[in-house]
Structures are given as structure tokens and as C-alpha cells.
């Protein structure tokens, strides 16, 4: 009896350790994480952010999004993003009204300017939301882009 109780406690301890390791791996910051299937498969920006652990993002004026106000061709919309928040380690992009809003995360190791230029497909007029990660916190801003011809489905 005593023996059994002991092994149960041991097993419990091992589980606890696993849980700790697991939560360490799921920490925001995304370091070394694999391509995030659940975030990329999310159908809303909010769900995608949750899957990425980007909760409590605060609005910031220190992220600059340069994109056209009106895009004539939704298939190729140029977007320039610069974060002026010190210590920005990554920038994530969510095209809110696309079927799968999460468009990508760009990581900037020390020494890389927190800037990225990309070209994205916009299905229809939509806010383009950016989340910057700096010092373990998240900052966000968005810019509305009007699309006159959609970029999805062709």
C-alpha cells in the first residue's frame, strides 16, 4: 500500500514538471516555436492573437504602418511597418477581414531594425492590424485599407 502511494506521488511530481516545461514552451515571445497551425488556422484576428499568446496588447502610436488608403488591386498590397518601441523583437500582422487573418510574424534579433516590408493579399476592405512584441509586452495599432478589387479567389 505504502509503495503504491509513493509511486502515485512520484507520478504526480513528474506530471507537474511536464506542466511547468509545457508552459515554459508556450510562453509569449514565440522563441523557437514551430509554425503555429492554430494561429494561422484561426478565422478571426482575436482568436489568432489568443493562439499566439498576444493578450492585453495596448494601443500604441509608436508603430508606423505605411500602406495605401485605397488599394486598386487587393492581390498585391505593399505594407511597410516600423516599430519605434525600444526593444521590439517581433512584429505580427493580422488582416482582419481575410478568411485567415493571421498573415505572419517577423522576428528581429538584436541588431536588426524593427522594420519590415511585405506585400499581402487583401480579400476586401479591412483593417490591417499590427502587434509588436517588446520586453515581454504587446503593443498594437491598425490601419484601414480600402480594396476596390479583391485579392482572394481571383
Amino acid at each position: 500500500m505504502q509503495q503504491t502511494r509513493r509511486s502515485v506521488i512520484k507520478a504526480g511530481g513528474a506530471l507537474g514538471l511536464l506542466a511547468v516545461l509545457g508552459s515554459a514552451l508556450l510562453r509569449p515571445g514565440r522563441a523557437l516555436a514551430a509554425w503555429n497551425t492554430s494561429a494561422f488556422g484561426a478565422k478571426s484576428a482575436v482568436d489568432a492573437m489568443k493562439a499566439l499568446g498576444m493578450t492585453n496588447a495596448e494601443d500604441s502610436k509608436d508603430i508606423a504602418i505605411r500602406a495605401p488608403d485605397i488599394a486598386e488591386n487587393g492581390a498585391v498590397v505593399p505594407i511597410d511597418i516600423t516599430s519605434n518601441i525600444a526593444g521590439t523583437r517581433s512584429i505580427s500582422v493580422f488582416i482582419e477581414k481575410n478568411p485567415f487573418p493571421y498573415t505572419g510574424t517577423f522576428d528581429f534579433p538584436e541588431g536588426t531594425v524593427p522594420y519590415v516590408h511585405l506585400r499581402a493579399k487583401l480579400g476586401k476592405s479591412t483593417p490591417v492590424r499590427v502587434v509588436a512584441a517588446a520586453g515581454g509586452k504587446f503593443y498594437t495599432t491598425a490601419k484601414e485599407v480600402k480594396v476596390t478589387i479583391g485579392g482572394c479567389g481571383g
Binding site: F100, Y102, F106, T112, V116, H117, K121, G151
Partner: protein
């Protein structure tokens, strides 16, 4: 074998302005051709290295435009440094290309 990337890295002071053009269809899985859906086929990850040190990486979705173009800026670069870019897509295909950082005007 996918077509090579076009990589241009130009110095502005000690910052290398890197622009990359990748040849890839970036199929969304929503487009139809002859009544059939063209399957999802897109680049998922990108990494860039300057003289072997990772300076930029990205996870992206199919919402990035066909023949993707990216630009980023790396501090502390010198003319002659090697910039290497690798992409990998959802079908396991990948491509790595290299360019030399060139002095700016």
C-alpha cells in the same frame, strides 16, 4: 527545383537594406482553375543570415502575395558580407540563395 531568389543588399551607412524577391505561386487554396480548387501551396518560413548569424526570420501565411517580396534592415553590416536567405513551403520544398552586401551610394 524552384527558381532562385533575387536578393539585393545595399549599405546605407552601416545598415544593410536587404530586399528579397522569391519565386513562388503562394496558392491560397481558394482559387479555382477549370472548376477545380488549386491546392494550398505557400511559403511558411523564412530565415536570413548575415555571415552565418541569423538576422531575420518570419513565419508567414498564404495571404502573402504571389512571388513574395520582403525587405528588412540589418545593422552593423559591411561591404562584402554574405547574406543568405532560406525559405521553406508547406510541401517541404525549400530554397537557399546568397548575395553579397554592396556599398551604397
Amino acid at each position: 527545383m524552384p527558381d532562385p531568389m533575387k536578393i539585393r543588399a545595399t549599405l546605407q551607412g552601416d545598415v544593410a537594406d536587404v530586399r528579397v524577391l522569391m519565386a513562388h505561386p503562394m496558392e491560397t487554396g481558394q482559387r479555382k482553375q477549370g472548376g477545380k480548387v488549386v491546392p494550398l501551396h505557400f511559403i511558411q518560413t523564412i530565415t536570413a543570415q548575415l555571415n552565418g548569424r541569423t538576422v531575420f526570420s518570419a513565419d508567414i501565411s498564404q495571404a502573402i502575395s504571389r512571388n513574395p517580396v520582403f525587405a528588412f534592415k540589418v545593422k552593423g553590416a559591411k561591404a562584402g558580407d554574405k547574406i543568405t536567405v532560406t525559405w521553406k513551403d508547406n510541401e517541404g520544398e525549400s530554397r537557399t540563395d546568397e548575395a553579397t552586401v554592396r556599398g551604397g551610394s
